[in-house]
């Protein structure tokens, strides 16, 4: 079960990287980067999970002595999800400008440096 859970996270990172390598469209590459990032979130949350424990929020139905899962990895993941969306927006804005200046979004055609 350990290998399965962490293996899914590793698989997401691997397949995201593969997508970036074989991509023929820069927008496709940006989305594959997003898949890669979600692999890291799955890894963090899998590290923090405890069987039989509940969510790290205490109220009347979950008194403060009950076992909970790790809140530190959850805090790391949730700020990162929102911020990486804005960084994805920055990358997409770059793709739009590349298309306007060079007329193409195929990374193989963009590799020549212009003098």
């Amino acid at each position: 079960m350990t290998m399965y859970a962490y293996g899914v996270a590793g698989w997401l990172v691997l397949i995201g990287a593969y997508g970036i390598v074989v991509s023929r469209n820069l927008v496709h590459a940006v989305i594959c980067l997003s898949v890669c990032q979600s692999g890291s979130y799955v890894m963090l949350l899998a590290v923090g999970f405890q069987r039989g424990a509940s969510a790290p929020i205490f109220d009347s139905s979950n008194p403060p002595l009950a076992p909970v899962v790790d809140p530190v990895v959850q805090a790391m993941s949730l700020t990162d999800i929102v911020v990486s969306a804005t960084v994805t927006a920055l990358l997409l804005a770059l793709v739009i400008q590349i298309h306007k200046r060079h007329g193409t979004v195929d990374p193989d055609e963009l590799s020549a440096l212009r003098g």
């Binding site: 079960m1 399965y4 859970a5 899914v8 698989w11 997401l12 397949i15 995201g16 593969y18 997508g19 023929r24 469209n25 927008v27 496709h28 940006v30 989305i31 594959c32 997003s34 898949v35 979600s38 692999g39 979130y41 799955v42 949350l45 899998a46 923090g48 999970f49 069987r51 424990a53 509940s54 969510a55 790290p56 929020i57 909970v68 899962v69 959850q74 993941s77 949730l78 999800i81 929102v82 969306a85 994805t88 927006a89 997409l92 793709v95 739009i96 298309h99 306007k100 060079h102 007329g103 193409t104 979004v105």
Partner: protein
Amino acid sequence: MTVLVVLAFALVAAAGTAVVLSRDAQRQAITLSALGLTLTVLFLVLQAPDVALSQLAIGAAVVPLMVMLTLREIRQHPSRKDRSARS
């Protein structure tokens, strides 16, 4: 309980593979939204409601919207290849 966890992980892996293997960028926006949904279910099963809320709002609404707007922008101004093929 363990069956749910195993199933959620399997769905996430399948959705991630589907996103990468769909070559057309427009279809990818839809599969990206589906990946966001499966990730939300996984985060809920792993007892992380805060992260699930964040992922649902971002991954199923904001990022696919931005990707679709980018694709429409790229399609509206045709590339140099299409322009030279037409002239």
